[in-house]
Amino acid sequence: MDRRTFLKAGAGAVALSGLAAPAYSQGANARTLRFVPQANLANFDPIWGTQYVVRNAAVLVWDTLYGFDSNLQPQRQMVESEEVSGDGLTWSFRLRPGLKFHDGSAVTSKDVVASITRWMARDSMGLMVKALMQEFVAVDDRNFRLVLSKPYPKLLVALGKNSTPMAFIMPERLAKTDPFQQVSEYIGSGPMRFVRNEWVPGAKAVFERFADYQPRQEASNWLAGGKRMLVDRVEWIIMPDPATASAALQNGEVDWWENPITDLIPQLRRNRNVRADIADPLGNIGAFRMNYLTPPFNNVKARQAVMAALSQEDYMAALVGGDQQMWKPLPSFFTPGTPLYTEEGGEILKGPRNLDLAKRLLAESGYAGTPVPCIVAQDQPITKAMGDVTADLLKRIGFNVDFVATDWGTVGQRRAMKNPLGQGGWSMFHTWHAGADAINPAVYIAIRANGERAWFGWPDVPSVETEVTNWFEAKNLDEEKAAIRRLNKAAMENVVYAPTGFFLQYQAWRANVTGVGKGPIPFFWGVGKS
């Protein structure tokens, strides 16, 4: 019994006898997992919204046909079996029996066809499939067929990947929603049910175990295998203040904190009831993303000026502190330690930083001192820290920095605007990419450089796109590697974006919580409380 429980008991016995007894019984407490997520769950349509936090909540509520395991290989999840014709054009799928949505209705092929169709409209790989699609029909309640005009060997990767938006299966009536509008109900067939009437955006989101969920027989492995829930209830408690979250974890008021800032780890570790470890060994890549549509970064020389002076060491120190274990220099766009990793063309980020070269490049770009709007989210520790370093860096190079301090939600809005400067347009923003999303061009929307159709910033580098195509068409790993080497070089030379380094993040949990795993998503299945 800790001091507070003791006090409570004492107070209950003496002063407050006769008052309502605490409603929490020890048992109910042990069946509820209280989790502090990285950010607020402001909206909850995982096709419409692509923030990581929405995806992380969605994997509880919605299931997928396939799911990545920790080797980043798609494994069957809702699908029982699939068959592909010899020419690679016709795919026949069969659903597992007994799948049910949270409203009690059975999951049928019709739901799948509608859901995948909605997803295709919003996902970069989905769009590629859509372009090749000849026929996509429900054969009967459990069988459906996809016919392509050209083989697409990465189809199962597309259906099982964990980068956003994931190919979640919803009831047909919801999946018929315009992909650019949000769904109005949150009903899936995943292991947990979303308790909508307890949802307080900005404060709390609650999930309850779905009794009719049929887990697979295999052991769970990331998004693959049997997703068995050991707790009845998962409460997401949103805490905007890391100091409060840290105190709450130390006091045992919450059980698991997704992203404690590195500076607080030593203190958390001193508490014998708290455990802290790396959250995701695949880590994250910090990104300094420039706008190809507006000056000064519409000029490659200005972008190169940033690369010449950018010190990843500064960014990483600001981000993860003095702990050298927690970051690595990254003269690359790809996740270190994964098969396609290459440093080809990365010289510009290596060695001593060259401020004179940066100044010269900037002058050559014809920059005339116009304000450069830097859109920096202050409510995300990652973007906030990088933003401060960037403001300093750009000032030293000679940019006239217009520092727009705002929040992550507003960055989401503002970065989508293609307007010229002065009319809502912008020059740069910071974000980060999970290492798991930066392993190859299929799942890596941020590396694409197909101009107007590319991700925010709209990089337009044809040579990068050529190599993306080469990679998709590669017949073996060596060909894939060669394509990625050329891609990395072209992306470095033209600066698709500026990588600010590779970093790891911690997660922390109470010692009585078991089964906390490592991965790009906090996986709740297999996590219990003793």
Binding site: D2, R3, I237, Q413
Partner: protein
């Protein structure tokens, strides 16, 4: 008196109208196209056009204002830009924690500040008086979040007496509810206590110099009965008035306190909405807080009109 009450109630209507007009104009004073702001991230030009039509931006400002007020009166405050939930729903979800915090703070502040103020007045010029008044000035001078962090550090982390954060609904039991609110209420109450203690002391000093107190003393009434029966009763009106006005401080302070203690109340809703420029929510919250503030002060006025026989209109 009846006339006064009617006039007093009617006088709040223009006040609320001004508040409503100000709150409504917020969206239109803001830089940028309101339709684009509401449409948000993924909007196509068609979406923006549709929203512009639904906002009726082509029609005169006052017509739109009238319609907006009409909808508010029917309980429709619009829909949040970020969550797509009705603003009224979002407010309902969060009203209990904030109300609990405020009520508890008022009770705490009044029960601490009035005795302090009375004692300071009684012991005017002594060390006790100076100490109380010094604390009061200090109460005005330290930002509420600093007080909050200090309290959390001492009483939650070091001593482990109380939880650091969060809110438990009253329906879960009185102690769990109270336990979560004690530290925030103390942090929030600081300024309020200072305010009430000062006005109590000032009014008490004035009352204590009146003839009837001297008479009571001469009759040999006890010190306690003089202070708390005779004097305090006569000092009540200004004190109660300031308690009402001070609600404004509590509302401002709640915005910060709820962030520090992670209480899912209206204050945090306000901060979130403001950082995201979620205009319908900002409008709803500012309107609601102002309405409550006006209502509380109206209530206080009416109460002492009814109960204080000296006030005649």
């Amino acid at each position: 008196m009846f006339n006064y009450i009617v006039r007093r109630v009617l006088a709040t209507i223009p006040v609320m109208a001004i508040v409503a007009l100000f709150v409504f104009s917020l969206l239109y004073i803001a830089p940028g196209d309101p339709a684009a702001v509401i449409a948000g991230d993924q909007a196509t030009p068609d979406d923006v056009e549709r929203i512009r039509a639904s906002l009726g931006l082509d029609r005169p400002f006052l017509v739109r204002f009238g319609e907006w007020v009409f909808r508010i009166l029917q309980g429709d405050m619009g829909v949040s830009i970020f969550t797509n939930l009705p603003v009224t729903t979002m407010i309902q979800q969060r009203i209990e924690p904030t109300l609990s915090l405020m009520v508890l703070t008022v009770i705490l502040a009044v029960s601490v500040a009035i005795p302090l103020g009375v004692i300071a007045a009684w012991k005017q010029g002594t060390l006790i008086d100076r100490a109380v008044m010094g604390m009061a000035v200090l109460g005005f001078s330290v930002p509420v979040f600093v007080v909050g962090y200090l309290l959390a550090y001492i009483f939650a982390l070091e001593l482990d007496w109380l939880p650091v954060q969060g809110y438990t609904a009253l329906s879960e039991g009185l102690w769990p509810w109270l336990e979560n609110l004690i530290l925030p209420a103390v942090a929030l109450g600081g300024v309020y206590i200072a305010l009430i203690a000062r006005i109590t002391r000032a009014t008490m000093l004035e009352v204590l110099s009146q003839d009837y107190i001297r008479t009571a003393r001469a009759k040999g009434a006890g010190q306690g009965s003089i202070l708390f029966l005779h004097a305090l009763k006569n000092a009540a009106v200004p004190i109660v008035t300031v308690i009402g006005i001070g609600i404004a401080l509590l509302i401002g302070g709640a915005v910060v306190t709820e962030s520090v203690f992670a209480i899912p109340g209206l204050g945090r809703l306000t901060v979130d909405a403001i950082l995201r420029r979620d205009y319908p929510v900002i409008q709803g919250v500012v309107l609601l807080f102002s309405f409550v503030y006006v209502l509380v002060n109206l209530g206080i006025d009416l109460v002492y009109t009814l109960f204080d026989p000296r006030i005649r209109y």
